[in-house]
Symmetry: C4
Subunit: 229 residues, 4 copies
C-alpha cells in the first residue's frame, strides 16, 4: 500500500473498533509502520482524544519511530511512544492495535493469562494469551513489557495488568483481527469459567491445531496478512 | 431452489450470522446440499477466511461430497470435510451451519450438554442440546462425531467439546434457525444457572411441548423447512 | 386509532422487539384489542412463525376473542388463545406483549419473582415482578395463570416459570414499554445479584415512588397509555 | 454556543444515550446550563417521558434554576429539580447526564462504590466512583446528595444507591463522556470481580495516571470540555 492507501486502510480499521464493541468513546487506536524511501521507517497513528466518528483518513498523524510528529495538526495518541517502541524492537511488525475491550481487560485486572479452552484460541493464538506486568502509560515502560513478552511468542496478543490489550501483526489488518479474536475468546473463556471448570485441551492438540491453522487455513497468504482475498 | 437461488440464499444466511451475533471475524459457515441431475449430490459452502462483508453469492464454493472443489477460485471452508461427511451419512439433511457462538461454546468448553429449563428449548430441541466429544479439525473426526450423536436425535444442534456448534436442517434456513435458537437458549440457560438452581421441566411436559411445536406451530410446513411463508 | 392505524402501530411495535433485543428469530408477539361497532371486541395479533423482517401491517391476523380467525390468510400466533383469555377476563387491557427476553426468562427458569432493588422498578412495576406457575402452551392454562396473578396487581408484567414474559397495558404501546422495562430491570437485578447482596428498598419508599410515577411522571396521560405525546 | 446550537448539541447528545446502551425506553436525560445576558442562568433539559427517537432540538424545555418552566410546551424531566440543585451549588458545572445504565446501577443496588482496578478508570475518574446514599426522586434530596459527594471530588460521576448514575462536566458533552466511561469501567470491574480477586492499583500510580490524563491527554483543552477537536 502507498501512503494514501494506508491512511484509508487505517481509517477503515479504526471504524471496526466500535463496530466490534472493542472500545468506548475515544479509547483504542491502530497504527501502521510506514516505510519511506531512504528515510527509514515512520508510523501513522490515531490522533489523541478524537472520536471514531470524527476521524478521517487525513486525521492520522505521521510520526517518526521516536514518537515525534512529522506531519499532522493534531497530537498523536498518548500511546504513540508504546507503538514506536514495539516497531523499533520487533521489525516484523507492520501494524499494532490497542484496546480496553471489556472481557480481555477483566482478565488483565486479575493479572491472569487467558487460558486456552477453545480450539479457535489454539488456532489463532497457539495457546494462552499472556499477561504482562503493570506498567505506567506515557513513556516506554509499556512498550518494553509488550516486547519482552511477545518476542518469540506464538500469541499476537498480550493483555497488560490493570490496563488492556495490545496486538501485533504483519499488517494493521492482521493486528485488528487478533484484537477481535482476543476479545471473542476472552469472553467465551470468561463464560466457560462461570459455568464450572472448563476442560483443558491437551498440549499436543493445541500444537496440532496451531500448526494446521497457521499453514493451511484461509486463502494463500491470508492468515499472515490478515487480509481476506 | 435452483443453483443461482441457492447461492443468493446462502449469501443471505451468512449475513444473518454476524447480525445475530453468532460469529467474530471470519469464523462460522453455512452450506447447502445441491442436487445436480444425473450427477449425485454436491455442496455449496463459504470460502475459507473471507469476511462476511466481502462475501458475494458467487463467492460460494461448489465441492463434491468428498470436499473436492468443482467450481470456484477460492479455497472452501476448512470445515468442508466435516460438512461433506454429515451430508454423506444423513441424507435428510439439506443444510448445515457451524459457529463458535459464545454462550453455546462456553457450555462446550465444560463438555456439558445444555440442559432443558425452557419451554422454547423443549419446543425447538425436544430436550437438552447434546455435547459431542473432542475431535480435531481438518479430517473426518468432527463429522463422524456429529453424525454419531445427532442420528436419530430430536435436537438439530450439537455442541462439540472445546469447539463450538453444528446445526442441521432440511434446508440451510432451518439449520440457521437452529443455530440462532441454540445460542439463545444457551444464553438463557447460562443466566439461569448464575441465579441459582433452575427448575427442571418434567419429561412428559417436554414431550408434549415438542410434539405440539413440531406438528402445529407455524404456517403449514414452516417448521420443517425453517421458512416463514 | 382506527383499524388501519392499529395495524400500522402493531407493525411498528413488533419491530421494537428485535430492536430492544427481546426476541430471537420469530419468538415474541404483540396484540391489540379491536372494538368493532355492534360486534363486540376482536383482536389483531402476529401470524405464527413469521420473522419480524417479513411482517407487514396487513400480515396481522384478526381473530375473535375465542381465537378464531376472522380475517387473514396466515395462522395466528400459537399464543393467540392466551391473549384471548386475558382480553376476556381483564377488560381494561388494550394490548398484550409476549417475549422470552433472556434475563427475565432466566429468573423464570428459577421460578423466582424479580426482586425490587431499583427505584426504576418501583416506579414502573410498584414492587417485584411476580412469577406464575408452570403451564402448558396451546390452550387456556397460560392465560388463566396470567389473569390469576395480574388481576389487581400493580405490576403490568408477569414471568411464567420455565417460559417467559407477558405484559399488559391500556394500549399495545404501554404493554411494549412494560416488556422493555421488565427486561431492563431483570438484567440490572441479575447483575446486582452477581456482585453480592443488593440492598432492599423500604416498602414505604417503593409505595411513594410508585405513587409519584403513576400520577406525576410524563406528559399528561402518557404513563397510562405508554405514548409519548 | 448560542441557544440554538445548544439545543442541537443536546439533541445529538441524547441520541448518544441509546447508541451507547446507557438507557431503555425514555429513561435518562441530559441538561445544559444556559447563560442568558442580564437574566442569570437557566437550563435546557429533556422533556419528561418522550422517547429518544421522538426528540427534536426544539423539544428541549427551558427552565429557571428552580425548575420552573420558562419556555416549551412539554413538561420537563422529572429529574429537573435534581439538575437545578446541582447547577445552583456547583457553578463550574455546565452539563449534567443521568442514566440507569445497567452495570453502574448494579453496583449502586449493592450500595458499593466502583473500585479502581483499571488504568482507564484512574485516568478518567482519578480513583473509585463513589456511591451516594438512598434519596427519593422528585424533590431536592438527590441533588443534595450528588453535591455533597461530588463537591471537590476527582470523579465526575456518582452512583446513587438503588437508583443510577449522575455525571457532571464543564459541558454537556464532557458529562456524557463521563457517563459512557462510567458504564464501561463499571462493566469491566464487574467482569473482573466474577473472575476472582482483581489486583488493586497502588495509590501513587492512580495519582500519576490521573495527573497525566488530566494535563496531557487529548488535543489542548479537550479533556476539560469533553470535545474532540
Amino acid at each position: 500500500m502507498n501512503h494514501a492507501e494506508l491512511r484509508r486502510e487505517l481509517h477503515t480499521l479504526h471504524l471496526e473498533l466500535p463496530k466490534n464493541a472493542l472500545v468506548a468513546w475515544t479509547s483504542g487506536n491502530v497504527s501502521a509502520r510506514v516505510s519511506v524511501d531512504g528515510m527509514g521507517d515512520h508510523m501513522l497513528i490515531k490522533p489523541s482524544g478524537v472520536t471514531f466518528e470524527d476521524l478521517l483518513p487525513e486525521s492520522m498523524v505521521l510520526t517518526d519511530m521516536n514518537a515525534q510528529v512529522l506531519e499532522g495538526d493534531l497530537s498523536p495518541s498518548s500511546d504513540t511512544a508504546t507503538h514506536a517502541y514495539i516497531y523499533r524492537h520487533l521489525p516484523e511488525v507492520g501494524g499494532i492495535v490497542h484496546t480496553h475491550s471489556p472481557y480481555a481487560t477483566a482478565w488483565a485486572a486479575n493479572a491472569r493469562e487467558i487460558p486456552c479452552f477453545l480450539t479457535a484460541m489454539a488456532d489463532e493464538f497457539g495457546g494462552p494469551i499472556p499477561c504482562g506486568n503493570f506498567a505506567l502509560i506515557g513513556g516506554e515502560q509499556i512498550g518494553a513489557e509488550v516486547v519482552r513478552v511477545l518476542r518469540g511468542h506464538r500469541s499476537p496478543a498480550i493483555i497488560l495488568q490493570n490496563h488492556g490489550v495490545f496486538t501485533i501483526g504483519k499488517t494493521p489488518r492482521a493486528a485488528l483481527k487478533a484484537a477481535v479474536m482476543a476479545e471473542d475468546v476472552a469472553r467465551t473463556a470468561f463464560l466457560a469459567m462461570q459455568l464450572g471448570t472448563p476442560v483443558p485441551i491437551a498440549q499436543a492438540d493445541i500444537d496440532s491445531l496451531y500448526d494446521r491453522y497457521t499453514n493451511v487455513y484461509g486463502q494463500q497468504q491470508a492468515t499472515s496478512t490478515g487480509e481476506a482475498p
